[in-house]
Amino acid sequence: MSKQITVPFGPQHPVLPEPLHLDLVLEDELVVDVIPTIGYVHRGLEKLVEKREFTEYVFIAERICGICSFIHSQTYVQGIEAIMGLEVPERAQYLRTIWGEYSRLHSHLLWLGLFADSMGFESVFMNAWRLREHILDDLEATTGGRVIQGVCKVGGVRKDITPEKLDEMIRGLKSMEHELQDLTNVFLHDSSMQHRLKGIGVLNKEDAYYLGAVGPTARGSGLPIDIRETGYGALGKINFKPVVEHGGDSYARCAVRAKEMFTSIDIIEQCIRKIPDGPVDMKVTGAPDGEYFSRTEQPRGEVLHYIKGNGKKNLVRHRVRTPTFTNIPPLVKILKGCQLADVPVIVLSIDPCIGCAER
């Protein structure tokens, strides 16, 4: 046995734009143990719930994460509505689903770009972000914000989309689908990509289940877990199948995300075809009294908001469990036994969002 050394990875690291610290215990170039540390960007957002009214806290819930911002506000608002027993107008539910899938599209495109960049594939990085810009343009035109949309509110949404804009969005996505196909072909069929991804960072089905993997990390290992199947928002009226891959390696996780973009486009199309007319918000009186676990599917996996109110304007407790936080134990498991050079790619393959994980 050779001598063990410890190499710190992060919190500042060229391939990892977010502050995750890993202590890698190495034997030569082989990783034998990993000790993760988080806690560099804790902001105490959950405590703020005692200082702000529950209707204003939507904006703070949205700022938990800069990428899945809309889905955070949607989850929080759904929890409040479930406690208060509000029947949200159907058009608002459809609009929330459309914007939610749009944010999934832009998150996956961002991730594909960063993933390619972590392997030194610069041109794919640029092309993925060029396509992402179309998605952000549509989000800005319909909500007013590119990344922080700020359109969710308790009892509905704040903005409506005109039928002409909905048609324009569907046409834009259709014309983009061809370019997306070109992009995913690179990820799925390029030989140098396959050399870097196939058989690297394998997480088998049992480990994924017992270590609590969620989202594309679980689905890449053959676990068909997708909270969208519970039918929150308008998803209960939409036909779709979650993407599941059985490889369990970095390639499978990458393939799940690449194929999920087409599922998202399909869901948006179905929503735009089925969207009913009517109001987009309702009057809310009173305050939440009770507790609720609200679950939705973020681009990175299942997010869980626990909300407890006591009938006053300020909530008593708000707790968030984000997908990255639950994906860290599987990540530690994957990293054991890999080569040092593969660590950046494997860490990025679970799509870490540390801003989300620490709040």
Partner: protein
Amino acid sequence: MSFFQNTRTVLKSLFSRPATLMYPAKPAKKTPLTRGHVTINPAGCITCRTCQRKCPTQAISVEVKEKTWQIDNMRCVVCAVCVDTCPTKCLTMDTQYRPAMTARGGIETYTVAGPRKKEPVAAPADGTKPAAEKKE
């Protein structure tokens, strides 16, 4: 396996416009809904303090006695809640982003009109007064 794939890509890239915007030369993209910054029409403000109560970051402060409306642009997150809740619609959302600033320079104070004189109530009073004068 297709041939001349790379040539096709190169030719396409050579003869198409750049995907990026030449930003300082051309203005940045904007839509009618873009949330740039909050502006106030001082003549319309009645110092009701609704915006101050609803602001999630406590960026707005209204002094009723001094009739001033103040916004701290370093705190403002441009959520447009004040614009939505303003009863007199004197707050509007401009689509232009603010330029970069320092913490010291972010505070803007406006002197506003303040609560309206009771004109609608005075109008029927005026109506009755002439009638009373006529009677005299």
